[in-house]
Symmetry: C2
Subunit: 353 residues, 2 copies
């Protein structure tokens, strides 16, 4: 059975989870329009997960997905934290503030996972790491379809080995955090055009293509490569239903592919975003940056105050290489547009082959 | 008129120029099979260009392309050269040799360009830089269709501005040297999935997609993105008609996407290849490496002696991220296979949309 039939989806369009920028309204609009809405819950508490899932369910009875970061809670030593705070102090000073030590470094994954099982979304998707076969079985027991995110064939195979039902093959064009969990970050920077067919050939489970897909041409292209669906994050970021503020929105509207970079300096994990003061400043000392989620938590208050001040220079402006093609239209309209473009592109290439 | 009609091509398949690894036999086989064979002439002398073009013409009357590096002959100071040679000495020592100063840093571009005009190939293609409008006019006067290579939309627009007839949009998946000539090398690392539709939308001339395209699925995908044709290098590298030796061939057969990196350490220009001793050693001191073509010339003798010795550790093992999908079949058979795959993939995606 095809991925779409299994999930009861009309369209091969997944809205990419965008932790901090997605909303129940966005996910519900995409699901209601025939795609799969996703909520990035990596930084949502169990209570916030319940609230967000309930909001989606209040808006649509269509399937949706909850996405988690597979992560451990770290215990950094005080000297590491203090040194990182000292490096960030000049940035906080721009807002008359000082770096503070956050109450927690990240949400507790075990608690989030328990909440996920309790909420029983149609799809449970994961990034940053990999589940055990036992965890996958537990989700299957709750009726969830399990999707892992991979940036290499080796990672895709690892997800298949633990029993995942499908894999998102995420090319380096993608915005936000890279999913890489095996091997070297640089070596894992594989483009979507090379990654997707390699994963399709290596796996017996469906592949969902992500990275640089912005319109119906991209959907047709991904399907030609053998993907059964696409996952689009940046394409939905400019929708009015996303949570980003006016400063981020304005930066998105101006950006080109060449304005984006990947860096681990902002959060401690490689992520692609639009170059700004925050990225340049932290990247200049990238070798000293503590690992995710410590740096993420240490820069979090700065990014929140910058968002409140409407100052894009100190935000994490996550965006993919397709950013220039992002369209600021309501998500439901965007899905309808993507469907038309996809069907047209598919017809055109058949006619010309 | 479409690109294929203009050039009289049956298939939207260009064999990528691979300076040092392509051969007249390879180019002629691709052209004879209905694609476009290309000879990378960046390091060919005018006499060698004439000889190679004559060999293609003796084998087929179909259109083919000659490709040049747009480059100036440098005049490095003696201290720079000596320091670079000292850094390379341990590598030469593996073969009981010492770095010598080459007779020339590169071929003279003006002489190569004159030879190109004299040879009047159906297609004249370029990389590493950009021509003037006057140079493009001269090629048009000789009846050549002019193609520039771009890694960003800005570079594609620059080629359109000087009168190019088409642009190769080369994503970072591509093997060998990056074509980048404007802006920062890192920022120009755009994936094919994002680059191609952006170039198609920005230009009024045809776009040829390159980077990570290895089979008929990739051709269908590139056409879905709006490209009129594809350029495939790595896909043809394992063909018996290529010039690579057994050691390179064996390394290709083993490599995965994650075994390749880009570095400017081997030649002084960013290029993607399989990681080996030469890459690791030179990359460790990459900040001190002189610019192309000086470093290229200084490592040239080492790579030649390594090729003679059948030692892949000291070769420049250029290859793209699709390397694992390279097929060691004769080029004519490969083109026939690509055609079947492309038509099948195109039909399949139309049927499922």
């Amino acid at each position: 059975m095809s991925l779409l039939d299994t999930l009861g989806l009309r369209l091969p369009i997944f809205q990419g989870p965008m932790t901090g920028s997605d909303t129940p309204q966005l996910a519900a609009a995409v699901s209601a329009a025939g795609g799969l809405g996703q909520l990035g819950c990596g930084m949502r508490s169990p209570a916030a997960m319940r609230e967000a899932a309930a909001a989606v369910r209040a808006a649509t009875d269509r399937p949706f997905s909850l996405n988690l970061f597979v992560q451990d809670t770290p215990a950094p030593d005080a000297a590491t934290v203090q040194a990182a705070q000292e490096r960030l102090a000049p940035l906080y000073a721009a807002f008359g503030q000082q770096p503070a030590t956050p109450a927690r470094w990240c949400e507790d994954f075990a608690a989030q996972f328990d909440t996920l099982v309790e909420l029983r979304p149609a799809v449970a998707s994961f990034t940053f790491g990999i589940l055990t076969a036992q965890q996958v079985e537990r989700l299957h027991g709750a009726g969830c379809f399990v999707i892992g995110t991979a940036t290499t064939v080796a990672e895709a195979l690892a997800w298949a080995d633990v029993g995942a039902d499908a894999v998102v093959a995420s090319g380096l064009e993608a915005g936000g955090h890279r999913a890489t969990f095996l091997g070297d970050a640089d070596a894992s920077m594989v483009g979507t055009m090379a990654l997707v067919p390699a994963c399709v050939d290596a796996l017996r489970i469906p592949v969902i293509a992500a990275g640089g897909i912005m319109d119906g041409r991209g959907i047709a292209a991904a399907r030609a490569l053998g993907a059964q669906a696409v996952q689009m994050g940046t394409a939905f970021l400019a929708c009015p239903e996303s949570a980003i503020g006016p400063a981020y929105r304005a930066a998105l509207a101006r950006a080109q592919a060449t304005d984006t970079r990947t860096t681990r300096a902002i959060t401690g994990r490689h992520a692609r975003g639009i170059v700004n003061t925050l990225m340049r400043h932290t990247d200049a000392q990238v070798d000293q940056v503590p690992a995710y989620p410590v740096q993420n938590a240490l820069t979090g208050a700065l990014r929140r105050v910058a968002a409140e001040a409407g100052n894009a220079d100190y935000l994490a402006l996550w965006a993919g290489q397709g950013v220039a093609a992002a369209r600021a239209v309501p998500a439901g309209e965007l899905v309808a547009l993507l469907e038309r473009e996809w069907r047209d592109a598919s017809k055109n290439i058949a006619a010309s082959a």
